[in-house]
């Protein structure tokens, strides 16, 4: 599904990713862990096409297409979704109008007619239930005045609406209390099918307890320095990253 080969990327002339190689197959859950500043968020931003980052080398294919050649909105239409670490507040743009625009542009890309108003609202209601998102929030401006937990629920709600093939969850667990974490994680699990894949970027084991990764990678200094099964996350939970850093730096 996703194949990253020798990916180098920089921001403001500073190289952050220094040769990433990663392959995600349909149905897999990959966890990417790593100390602060290792390039985890840069990787997710580069994949979704954030304009501040420049890819200097390497290639990425997504379902056989050259991902890096696509505009950010087309990457979304192709089925790539990012749950933002810091969801953006958009005053004055209602959740309904925002989601309607997103859904209908996706449908247009796929050659489908726009959803009728009642069908759309029905879809909103259905998907809201996935993450127990309050109907009041759905009537407000995008993320405006949402608590940290509500913002993250809202990300998963949007994921449910857009039904992506590959979701990147960028520290979706940060700022969540135990209950919200469970709701969010269960939401993600309910959305999972054998055809969809997930990349989970996290510092902690607790989200992985729910999402059960098939593969765990450690990103450090812009490279994937360790790849193993789920037991690696448990070991990191116990021992931290220092032992890995030491191995790499020696």
């Amino acid at each position: 599904m996703l194949k990253i080969s020798n990916l180098h990327a920089s921001i403001n002339g500073k190289e952050i990713l220094k040769g990433i190689n990663l392959e995600v197959r349909p149905g897999e859950v990959h966890a990417i862990m790593g100390p602060n500043g290792s390039g985890k968020s840069t990787l997710s931003n580069v994949l979704v096409g954030h304009p501040s980052y420049e890819v200097t080398e390497g290639e990425v294919t997504f379902n056989g297409k050259d991902l890096l050649a696509l505009a950010p909105e087309d990457r979304s239409h192709e089925g790539l979704f990012l749950s933002f670490q810091y969801p953006v507040e958009i005053p004055g743009v209602s959740m309904v109008n925002f989601m309607r625009a997103a859904i209908n542009e996706q449908r247009k890309y796929r050659g489908l007619a726009p959803l009728a108003a009642n069908e759309f609202l029905k879809l909103m209601r259905e998907k809201r239930a996935f993450v127990e998102l309050d109907s009041k929030l759905a009537n407000r401006s995008v993320n405006e005045g949402f608590s940290g937990g509500e913002k993250k629920k809202n990300e998963i709600f949007q994921m449910a609406m857009l039904e992506p093939r590959l979701s990147i969850l960028d520290e979706t667990d940060s700022g969540l209390d135990i209950d919200a974490l469970r709701i969010v994680a269960e939401g993600v699990n309910k959305l999972k099918t054998p055809e969809t894949s997930t990349i989970v970027i996290t510092h902690y084991q607790r989200l992985l307890d729910y999402l059960k990764p098939d593969v765990v990678h450690v990103l450090y200094k812009g490279r994937i320095v360790k790849t193993a099964g789920p037991e690696l996350a448990l070991e990191i939970e116990k021992r931290g990253f220092d032992w890995i850093k030491k191995e790499v730096d020696e």
Binding site: V48, G49, H50, P51, A71, P72, E73, R75, S76, H77, F81, L82, F84, P87, V88, E89, I90, P91, G92, V93, N97, F98, A101, A102, E105, Q106, Y109, S141, V142, Q158, L162
Partner: protein, 447 residues
């Protein structure tokens, strides 16, 4: 020759002609206005109040005038098919400065309400009009007002007597219509007596591709406990220059809402002066401008808290594209003794290009010590993080910009109390941002 000279000369040559086609009440003030224009001259950018708009230059060209009141062939119902599906109004037309009496709406306004040609009605009701005409629009203070007072021959009178509530919104469509470059001096007097209520929508259009220079003076007198809403929507052409001076005086416990929307035009200069003259008066003064190409929009507001316990809320928003220029100067004066004043002023602006320019000048002048006053002004760009967030959800960059721009001005549209007009404005603004607002051939407020 200064550009005022041609108007002073015109007046001295044509004063009898002008007077013959107007009313005594209006004629009575011309000489004084002429003397004041002679004294002050037309404002240039050296005048503090006009430093963002060179008014004198706008007056320099040679415009035609219709002082002889020749009929201009136009049927506004043909030119502007304004049968209103959702926004049900009592609809009136003014062609240039002339009240169009051939197309009166088939509505019965409440008894005692007077609406029609200022020229005719000031002949019919000289005492009523003379009591208010020119009392707010001070010719000593503003040269555009002086020029308008000197040359104006007609316009509109709206009179709502004490305690009368006009349920149906009154809509006035101003149409500029001429075959040569043309000047119009329109005059409007609105009298809302104690405890009366009315709402009015004024749509400005230009039907021809010539240069128009339109001056307009509107005086609004609002009595005790009365309520008045005035929505102005300008949708003219790049060759239309509008200088509109709006004067409002409010008595105790009155409520006024003014919402001034500039969608299309060449040069727009709106001067709005509100006097809160009785305790408990409230003004909600809003405006927005969407400007592109070489459009120029200048809003100059002055709110005078003359007595205690009044509130004012002011919100202006601009979206400037291409090489458009915007200016906002808002002054709030809290006079000595105007305790418990609550005043809030906000001006927010988006410059979409590096070439667009916004000048903003909030001013507070306070001579009382127990007041709550705030003001804020910002100039910025669209939020790039929000744009990217929307793109990640599949919304194209172009569409994401549209959503953000509409959201930005939505706050001003939401101040509109007429639901149908609010919906209509949202729709018009969307079309405007998409560059789909058509030729000025119809009153878009109704279609």
């Amino acid at each position: 020759m200064q550009s005022k000279e041609q108007y002073l000369n015109l007046y001295s040559e044509c004063r009898e002609l002008i007077a013959r086609h107007s009313s005594d009440v209006m004629n009575a003030q011309r000489e004084a206005a002429c003397a004041e224009l002679q004294r002050m001259g037309l404002p240039t950018k050296k005048d503090e109040d006009y430093k963002y708009t060179d008014v004198e230059a706008l007056f320099a060209p040679d415009y035609g005038l219709n002082l002889n009141r020749l009929d201009i062939p136009v049927n506004p119902y043909d030119a502007f098919k304004c049968d209103v599906p959702n926004l049900s109004t009592a609809l009136y037309f003014i062609v240039n400065d002339r009240f169009y009496a051939k197309a009166l709406p088939k509505v019965n306004l409440p008894e005692g309400v007077i609406i029609g040609s200022l020229r005719e009605l000031s002949a019919e009701h000289p005492e009523l009009v003379a009591r208010y005409y020119g009392t707010l629009a001070d010719v000593k203070e503003n040269a555009v007002t002086a020029l308008n007072t000197m040359l104006t021959q007609d316009g509109l009178l709206l009179y709502v007597p004490k305690g009368v509530v006009v349920e149906k919104p009154i809509q006035l469509v101003n149409i500029l219509r001429a075959d040569v470059n043309f000047m119009v001096n329109r005059r409007v007097l609105i009298i809302i007596e104690d405890c009366a209520q009315a709402r009015m929508l004024v749509c400005d259009h230009a039907a021809d591709e010539v240069d128009f220079l339109a001056t307009q003076v509107i005086e609004v007198v609002v009595g005790r406990g009365a309520s008045f809403e005035l929505y102005e929507l300008e949708e003219t052409t790049a060759r239309t220059h509008r200088l509109s001076n709006l004067y409002v005086r409010q008595e105790a416990d009155s409520k006024v809402l003014i919402n001034d929307v500039t969608l299309m035009g060449g040069t727009t200069r709106n001067t709005t002066r509100v006097t809160l003259g009785g305790r408990g008066a409230h003004i909600n003064l809003c405006g927005m401008a969407i400007a592109d190409k070489q459009q120029h929009v200048d809003n100059h507001t002055f709110i005078d808290h003359a007595v205690s316990d009044c509130t004012s809320h002011e919100l202006y928003k601009y979206v400037l594209d291409d090489e458009a220029i915007g200016a906002f100067a808002g002054k709030v004066l809290v006079r000595e003794g105007a305790q418990h004043t609550d005043s809030q002023q906000t001006n927010r602006n988006l410059c979409l290009t590096r070439q667009a320019r916004m000048y903003t000048q909030p001013q507070l002048e306070i001579y009382a010590d127990d007041v709550k006053c705030s003001h804020g002004a910002t100039v910025g760009q669209l939020n790039e993080d929000a744009l990217f967030y929307m793109q990640q959800r599949g919304i194209s960059y172009v569409e994401a910009r549209q959503l953000l721009m509409r959201a930005f001005v939505g706050e001003v549209i939401d101040e509109v109390s007429l639901e149908a007009l609010r919906d209509r404005l949202h729709h018009l603004v969307e079309k405007r941002f998409r560059g789909e607002l058509g030729q000025c051939r119809e009153c878009n407020a109704c279609h």
